[in-house]
């Protein structure tokens, strides 16, 4: 029965077992306490009644003598539900009364019989049954003994009834607890089994697996939900890591080959620009490689979230204005017009350096790709709506085909197959990582979707902003 053992090991079952034991103990204690108290009360009442009767009998004896006493006892004994009366001789032989037999030696001493005792009634003789009673013995001056007692059958019945009730109640509680254990425990076990099944698959390497959710929103669902969010993050990081290592291998081989070729050419003296020219080119080429490595490291650093610690309240309006100001002459140099429309005083929680770099990348891209476009306008706009700061960079260059929007965010993806423009292919990846770090969103769209050529590209970034 290993299944039962497993069931018993669940927290729910253990807890309910503990509670069952505790409640049972309490119930038993309570029942015993209440019955004990009521028994004592009943006994006290019985004693009071007997004592009262004894004093009445004494009074009758003093007033009317032996004959009066006998008459009085006769009358009393005949009443329905009467007490027990015995008149006995000095040696204890029963002379009169409504009792057939007594425990021997009972009548020897005067006063209370401290313990309940056994006796037989006349009606019992055929069946040989005996009863229990409580009594007081009175010693008369003529040597006769009178016993007045009360049958204890009723308290006995009461006690039996209570015991029975206790057994039934405990039985019902136990049974109920078993059913509940089984229900809760099995349900919990089933769900935990499903969860561990899913985690086994995940451990085996299938990071796309998710823990099952019942949709009830209970604690298991909440746990699954946060674990699933964690898995999503791990999957994304893992995916990024794999992509990076794949792409590094592919994309860094090309510039390294170029570098090597140049060095070789310089060494053999086949370089037209002379040795120092070749060396300069080699340095430039290595700088580009370093740049690529730096960008890669930066992206993975931002994605890993380690820069989150350096977040503070920053004036987004100021950052945007600074960036536009930084790139404006470069745009003009390429006969482009960089225009800004910035709502002042928008504060967000962020990293100035990273936002500056991300926006710089976008403006740089716009300048690079919109060069020579019919409409020379590059527009940087920032407004705030509700709790969001919306920043857009729109150019009128050739734009990006709609089905490539997701693609260009990946590392090293460049639409410019010929690699005629300088760049690492990492700019937009960094922008995406920065936006994710700021819990914002990044969307790409065409600036003029209906234009024939030169649809342009509008990059829209939404930052969560301070409510004003």
């Amino acid at each position: 029965m290993s299944k039962l053992r497993v069931l018993f090991r669940t927290t729910a079952v253990r807890l309910s077992a503990l509670y069952l034991v505790l409640f049972s103990l309490c119930a038993v204690f309570l029942v015993f306490y209440v019955t004990g108290m009521s028994e004592r009360l009943l006994e006290q009442q019985t004693r009071d009644a007997i004592a009262g009767e004894v004093s009445q009998i004494e009074a009758v004896y003093e007033r009317a003598g032996m004959n009066g006493l006998l008459r009085s006892l006769e009358r009393r004994a005949r009443q329905p539900g009467a007490n027990l009366y015995v008149i006995a001789g000095p040696s204890g032989e029963i002379l009169a009364g409504n009792v057939a037999g007594l425990q021997p030696g009972l009548l020897d001493d005067e006063g209370w019989k401290s313990e309940p005792f056994r006796y037989r009634r006349f009606t019992d003789e055929s069946r040989g049954e005996s009863h229990v009673a409580l009594a007081q013995v009175l010693l008369l001056d003529n040597g006769l003994r009178i016993l007045v007692g009360h049958d204890l059958q009723e308290p006995e019945k009461f006690r039996a009834l209570v015991r029975q009730a206790l057994v039934v109640a405990l039985g019902v509680m136990g049974l109920g607890a078993l059913v509940i254990w089984f229900g809760i425990g099995r349900n919990a076990l089933k769900r935990i089994d499903r969860m561990s099944e899913a985690s086994t698959k995940i451990m085996a390497g299938d990071l796309s697996q998710r823990l099952p959710m019942s949709g009830s929103g209970d604690e298991f669902d909440r746990l699954s939900e946060s674990l699933n969010a964690m898995l999503g993050r791990i999957e994304k990081l893992n995916e990024g890591l794999r992509q990076v290592s794949d792409n590094i291998a592919h994309d860094l081989k090309t510039p390294l080959t170029r570098l090597r070729n140049k060095a070789e050419a310089a060494l053999s003296g086949n370089e037209d620009r002379g040795q120092s020219g070749a060396l300069e080119e080699i340095i430039a080429e290595s700088d580009q490689l370093i740049r690529t490595f730096n960008a890669l490291l930066m992206i993975s650093r931002v994605e890993a979230g380690s820069a989150v610690a350096e977040m503070s309240d920053v004036d987004l309006s100021q950052i945007v204005a600074d960036c536009v100001e930084l790139y404006e002459p470069a745009a003009e140099d390429k006969t482009l017009r960089l225009e800004a429309d910035i709502m002042p005083g928008v504060v967000i929680s962020g990293n100035r350096e990273l936002i500056g770099q991300a926006l710089g990348n976008l403006i740089d891209n716009a300048i690079k790709y919109a060069e020579g476009a019919t409409n020379p306008l590059i527009r940087v706009a920032m407004t705030k709506s509700g709790n969001e700061a919306v920043l857009t960079v729109a150019d009128h260059g050739p734009g990006i085909p709609e089905d490539m929007y997701r693609e260009v965010l990946k590392r090293f993806v460049r639409l410019d197959e010929s690699r005629s423009k300088p760049g690492t292919g990492l700019g937009l990846s960094l922008v995406e990582a920065v936006m994710e770090m700021h819990r914002g969103s990044l969307t790409l769209a065409a600036t003029e979707p209906n234009s024939g050529d030169g649809k342009g590209l509008t990059v829209r970034m939404v930052f969560p902003a301070r409510a004003t």
Partner: protein, 233 residues
């Protein structure tokens, strides 16, 4: 003749240290070398150096703790931190530890040289000068005005700061990254030649109507503002 600048290089990579010492010597700077944090701390405490060039990761005592300890001992020699860690937050922790400048590896030697010279402050204008002068060019830091041969040259605020930084370090090479860091307060790589365009705009404003060029481009390094007619003292 200006006394030669003397610096201490604390670097555990002996090959790199030897290369740096040679390159600094060619640039007219005398250097000592310490190969671990403890001896670096000892040498920096015992001798007077103009600048310390400290690698961040060192045996026996790391670069940051070396700097913190120096500052605790009330030694305020300017420190340039060299580090393979070049991210935003690394720079911030480096400067918080008491470093004055931060250069991520790998770097161009020209970049390092320019920064060391600026930190050493053997040339350029004294910090407390309110008016910087280079030849016939005059920059008033309080009035925010620029004059050349007595003629007012109107500049945008950023152009003013650019010129101010160049003139403060007159006679010294300032690199593009130094300009981006000190004038724009950004440490990222702007990829294109954004700084060059700003400098050439500024150059056309201060040189257009005058004969004497002042702002020179130093090939492979950066820019320098200098009055060629005055011989260096």
């Amino acid at each position: 003749m200006v006394t030669r600048m003397k610096i201490l290089i604390v670097e555990d990579d002996l090959e790199a240290a030897a290369y740096l010492a040679k390159a600094f010597r060619e640039a007219g700077i005398v250097s000592d070398h310490a190969s671990d944090g403890e001896s670096g701390l000892f040498m920096a405490s015992e001798n007077a150096y103009d600048v310390l060039v400290v690698d961040r990761m060192l045996p026996r005592r790391d670069g940051l703790s070396l700097i913190t300890e120096l500052r605790r001992r009330d030694i305020h020699t300017p420190v340039l931190i060299l580090s393979a860690l070049g991210q935003v937050d690394d720079r911030v922790t480096g400067l918080r530890a008491g470093g004055d400048d931060y250069l991520p590896k790998p770097y161009a030697f020209n970049e390092l040289l320019a920064r060391v010279e600026v930190l050493g402050r053997r040339k350029g204008a004294p910090e407390q000068d309110m008016v910087y002068r280079v030849g016939d060019l005059e920059l008033d830091r309080l009035a925010h005005s620029v004059r050349r041969q007595g003629k007012e040259i109107p500049l945008q605020p950023r152009e003013f700061r650019l010129l101010e930084y160049l003139m403060k370090n007159a006679g010294q090479v300032v690199t593009r990254t130094m300009l981006l860091e000190n004038v724009w307060d950004y440490h990222f790589d702007p990829q294109t030649n954004v700084i060059d365009v700003h400098v050439s705009r500024l150059r056309s404003k201060i040189e257009k109507d005058f004969d004497m060029p002042l702002l020179r481009t130093v090939r492979g390094a950066g820019y320098m503002i200098k009055d060629d007619h005055r011989t260096e003292t």
